[in-house]
Amino acid sequence: MPHKAMPNLHSVAPAAPVAPATAPRPVALELRDLTTVFPGDDGPVTVIDGVSLAVRAGGTLAVVGESGSGKSMTFLSALGLVAAPGRVRRGEVRIDGADILHQPPERLRRLRGAVISMIFQDPLTALNPVFTIGEQIVEVLRAHQRIGRSAARARAIELLARVQIPDPARRVDDYPHQLSGGQRQRVLIAMAIALSPKILIADEPTTALDVTVQAQILDLLADLQAETGMALVLITHDLGLVARYADDVAVMYAGRLVETGSMEEVFTKPRHPYTRALFRSIPRLDGPVDEELPAIEGQPPNVARLPPGCAFEPRCTVGRGRADCCTRRPLPLAGDRSGHRSACFHEDLPDRTEAIR
């Protein structure tokens, strides 16, 4: 079952290959047609537009996109954490088949943490500077469980050990500022897994960290998953992390999904022109160096002023200026039985820049 090798410093042995799934694992979290709006100057602005996604138990779904693409907002919406005046207009969020979105707030609060948990990019602002990290973990435990103070403290030390904080019995009394950025993120992970949630949503969990620490944190999350079968949603803009850690990928642009599929499918056969352009534009360690990067021209759009057609059309080297791309509302995701789906009228056409290259 554990499909990722345990951490092994200095090891050069290849990681165990992904075990062929004998039976597909159950879906842990499913979003259906999730749509979130904020009031704007000219009526409501749709910031999340009909997003449907699923992540399986033990699996990792990476959600990629630029800032403003709605990747964080999608999951804030799913957890009922959209700040007013924004609101979820329609859609469902199902955990183990049951919709959680229309639960009373108190019940939703209990689900958060116990069943579904989220960690954020900046570990310093997410921790309270005036309490020790031990007190903060104890608070999480006691808010959800009937557990005495000393038992909760013992559990906090256990959790710190689990996230590989050295000398946890001593560090439990440290304040957040006494820890490094990487250690703070480990503490947040400890808090997030304190109640053994089935689903963990990690929003850019390593963006503020150095690459060396980033790899350690994500390896830790992968190990925890392998042990507990927790589903992981990894919100990131880093395609390198996606290649290393994700089973499935969802690409978002301007509040909409433009492509979903297994990591292998999306990376080897990207379909949507945006995904294709994104892959071309990133410098690679083994790519050519003496030529210009094939950049995506223009800027990500403002979701309050989207064109009537495809949101990517103004920057798209396939569809720019095509009548249907400009005027027809984008298609919902469509695809084959492999589960690889994309939302483009013309994905079969060659890219103009690809043709030149």
Partner: protein, 374 residues
């Protein structure tokens, strides 16, 4: 002075530059220990060349960038611009020197005054240097066009621009005085992936057209590879490796460089079923408490491998067995294969390359990975 036979002096040269920060004592705090943020660094950048500077946060790379402009004064060492020693020159002379050397910051929003139009921001260096004249507005329009901004938008405010456009404004501002050197401190790290490529292309085009020299500070090794001619790797205030670009990625000499390469995520499906490449343990130490001997030894996989292989004097350090040299002697930066330099007692030369380094090089595509036959 004009010895026409000798090569032109480097555009920028740092000789044994050191910067020590000390925290003053306060009501509740003892005076802090001295921090050698930059510790005896020497480097040169030739005209038209990009020197990449990489390392983790806390490595001293940003302080080094500021030393190059004397935004931070060196505690010791020398700074030469175009062969001229400007270490001790007066503030006024330094101001004049800054016409030649300018800085671009990571966060373009933080470095622009929100109440000032971008046209005024871009014009400001001209005014500060007393160079604002009838041609001023034209110069501003010129650099705006150069960086891909519409000059007719000069009367707008920073918040009316996106992150990528604001970085263009930051670059335009650095270019108004027509400098010879730009210090670029993480110029694309805060930008979206699709915008990063635009800015990288822009910087490279400007370099070609104007023959600028860049000190390019970044943590993204793929970006650094794309833009740099040579690369310096810093660890806790010291340069531990300095190499030609391709050499650094093809035959990294320092175990720290190997560790950085191992940690870089690569957007390639081949990474999936390969290995766990966490070859470095723990986090960068504190510059207040630099370990004796080689400052990388607490995290070094290579030191452990060399000690385990035997044949060198070893010593226990905590629960690790390490070569005594790594624990006692601070390695100096020395030539190791051509012009490349490394500060390591047991560098990863091609002849002595460890299994770890070999595996990491395979992972990143050197030598190129052939498709695995099905």
């Amino acid at each position: 002075m004009s010895d026409t036979l000798s090569a032109p002096p480097p555009a920028l040269e740092l000789v044994d530059a050191t910067r020590v920060f000390t925290r003053r004592g306060g009501l509740f705090k003892k005076a802090g220990k001295a921090v050698r943020a930059v510790d005896g660094v020497s480097l040169t950048i030739r005209a038209g060349e990009t020197l990449g500077l990489v390392g983790e946060s806390g490595s001293g790379k940003s302080t080094l960038g500021r030393l190059a402009l004397r935004l931070v004064e060196p505690t010791s060492g020398r700074l030469l611009v175009d062969g001229r020693d400007v270490t001790g020159v007066s503030k006024a002379e330094m101001q004049a020197m800054r016409r030649d050397i300018q800085m671009v910051f990571q966060d373009p929003y933080g470095s622009l005054d929100p109440r000032v139009t971008i046209g005024q921001s871009i014009a400001e260096p001209l005014k500060v240097h007393g160079l604002w004249d009838g041609d001023g507005p034209q110069k501003v329009a010129g650099v705006m066009s150069l960086v891909g901004l519409d000059p007719s938008r000069a009367d707008r405010y920073p918040h009316q621009f996106s992150g990528g456009q604001r970085q263009r404004i930051g670059i335009a501002r650095a270019l108004t005085l027509d400098p010879k050197i730009l210090v670029l401190d993480e110029p694309v790290s805060a930008l979206d992936v699709s915008i990063q490529a635009q800015i990288i292309n822009l910087l490279q085009r400007i370099q070609r057209e104007r023959g600028l020299s860049y000190l390019f500070i970044a943590h993204d090794l793929a970006v650094v590879r794309h833009v740099s001619h040579r690369i310096a790797v810093m660890y806790l205030g010291k340069v531990v490796e300095m190499a030609e670009r391709d050499n650094l990625y093809r035959r990294p000499l320092h175990p720290y460089t190997v560790s950085l390469l191992a940690a870089v995520p690569i957007a390639d499906v081949r990474m999936r079923n390969r290995r766990r490449t966490s070859v470095t343990m723990g986090e960068i130490g504190s510059a207040t408490n630099v370990p004796p001997g080689c400052r990388f030894h607490p995290r070094c996989y290579r030191a452990r491998l060399v000690a385990a292989a035997g044949g060198v004097p070893t010593e226990r350090s905590g629960d690790a067995l390490l070569p005594r040299a790594c624990l006692i002697d601070q390695p100096e930066l020395r030539a190791c294969g051509g012009a490349d330099q490394v500060a390591c007692h047991f560098p990863e030369t091609p002849e002595t390359r460890s299994e770890v380094a070999t595996a990491v090089l395979q992972d990143i595509g050197y030598p190129p990975i052939r498709p695995i036959p099905l």
